[in-house]
């Protein structure tokens, strides 16, 4: 018995190719077709936005090349995708390399964002559907359970997913370092640039219930209001000229208006912090030119981070994640060697048993 993985990922194929060969997650038809592929004993299809892979257990090692080609043809024919150079996008791993590859995928070492947690859930979902389609036998069952174990080991023994690596998640984590519970906090948005909307999406995930939007006119906040309505979030419009009357109510201020002068000045914030009895205020200024006076960071209980600070943290965390990924690679290699050795021993045992019979 051997294992083979045939597929393509964000590293080998552009989205325009990947989208043409992706499989629907709930459709069992490709599994039925996969079972008909010559040489395939058991199979699992993993189709995400970054990769399309078929992992198969093969009975005869001698037919490995032929079966890998048959799987590749299956991918192409199933979608009726006639790309002459498809093989240049596909990779094929077999034996120990296939084991290592699958373990790396489950442990999120082969992901676009190394260490992101979603991939493990996607592999588990693919495993569940394969079970439902009855294309999973004892070999792949054992194999994927080991892959889940390896992914868990990587999560617990390294800090690969500990630090946030996007501006949105860094902002949310900074908020959580200041405030206990975000859901009841008041967030003021001054302007609504593209990056601000990304941060807002992250904040909405923390179940924040009320946003205040400061702008020159109420009409310009219509789009954001519409967007918030989907999440049943309360939105209050704040005219820019009345900002001084509202600032003391805000726990978080996110500025992205790109106004040529400071909208939030030191004087305004000094008044606001006194009015709210020194309760902390977290300010994020991602506008260029800056809209919040950088001097306010020196006021007690006010914390100001600008776009460079956030990106600096992201950069540092990425570096840290790369170091952790190296540790994770060692774990994956060690586990792949162990699993392959066991698989090898079992193959000899099975051959000896069938010869005796």
């Amino acid at each position: 018995m051997s294992i083979v993985v045939v597929g393509m990922s964000h590293k080998t194929a552009p989205l325009s190719v990947r989208e043409k060969i992706s499989f629907s997650s709930e459709d069992l038809k490709p599994y039925q077709e996969l079972q008909k592929v010559k040489g395939v004993e058991e199979g699992l299809i993993l189709s995400t936005c970054n990769r399309v892979e078929i992992c198969a257990a093969i009975k005869n090692q001698e037919d490995l090349q032929k079966t890998a080609q048959a799987i590749s043809d299956f991918i192409q024919n199933y979608h009726g995708f006639l790309e002459p150079n498809l093989s240049s996008y596909l990779y094929c791993h077999e034996g120990k390399e296939a084991v290592r590859h699958a373990f790396r995928v489950a442990a999120s070492l082969d992901s676009l964002v190394v260490g992101e947690p979603q991939i493990l859930g996607q592999v588990k979902e693919a495993y569940r559907i394969s079970q439902q389609a009855q294309t999973l036998g004892p070999r792949l069952h054992r194999f994927f359970n080991r892959a889940f174990f390896v992914a868990k080991r990587v999560r617990t023994e390294t800090k690969i997913g500990h630090q946030p690596i996007s501006v949105g998640s860094v902002t949310v984590q900074l908020c959580q370092k200041i405030f206990k519970e975000l859901s009841h906090k008041s967030i003021l948005l001054i302007g609504a640039g593209e990056m601000a909307q990304v941060i807002v999406d992250h904040l909405i995930q923390k179940k924040i219930k009320s946003f205040y939007i400061a702008n020159r006119s109420e009409e310009s906040v219509g789009e954001l209001r519409e967007r918030f309505r989907e999440h049943s979030v309360f939105v209050q419009y704040v005219p820019l000229e009345e900002l001084d009357r509202w600032l003391f109510k805000m726990d978080v201020i996110l500025a992205s208006a790109a106004s040529p002068q400071f909208i939030v000045t030191r004087k305004l914030m000094e008044e606001a912090i006194v009015q709210r009895k020194q309760k902390s205020i977290f300010c994020i200024d991602i506008s260029v030119p800056r809209n919040i006076d950088p001097d306010i960071h020196h006021i007690n209980n006010i914390y100001l981070y600008n776009v460079d600070d956030l990106q600096g943290i992201v950069k540092e965390n990425l570096k840290h994640r790369e170091e952790e990924a190296l540790k994770a690679e060692h774990i994956v290699q060690e586990e792949a060697n162990k699993f392959y050795e066991k698989m090898h021993q079992m193959r000899h045992w099975n051959t000896w048993q069938s010869a005796r019979a």
Partner: protein, 138 residues
């Protein structure tokens, strides 16, 4: 030992524990605040709770410690056995009283609370050490 004195020792000990814990939380708050101000909060991972949590728990401990300290002093007054060591205790009590008063009035918190707590705690401990010394006949 009279029952008032036993109660005094009990309340004083309890308040010292609460105030010591409040001091520890004050130190954690100061470290976390410093890391946020210096923008090094992600450099080393920490298990620190949020500033808000540290502040709320510290405030509760200060209130419980202050009430307990007041009761401890009250027991001494009831026994009418005021000694020099109670002078330190009164001063410590007054410092904690100022912290709580300013907290209600202006939202006094963070680093400044830590410095005031340090002074208050030092005075309370000094009073206890003085009392222990007198107990041994020093």
């Amino acid at each position: 030992m009279s029952s008032f004195l036993s109660w005094h020792i009990g309340f004083s000990l309890f308040s010292e524990i609460q105030l010591a814990l409040a001091l520890v939380l004050g130190i954690l708050y100061w470290i976390q605040e410093k890391r946020l101000k210096e923008k090094t909060v992600f450099v080393r991972e920490s298990w620190f709770p949020s500033l808000e949590t540290l502040d709320k728990v510290q405030y509760r401990l200060l209130v419980i410690g202050f009430i307990s300290l007041t009761l401890g002093i009250g027991m001494v007054i009831l026994e009418s056995s005021l000694k020099p060591k109670q002078g330190w205790m009164f001063l410590g009590w007054a410092v904690y009283g100022v912290i709580l008063y300013l907290r209600r009035l202006t939202g006094f918190r963070g680093r400044r609370v830590l410095w005031y707590s340090l002074i208050g705690f030092a005075l309370v401990i000094l009073a206890s050490l003085h009392g222990m010394g007198m107990g041994r006949g020093l």
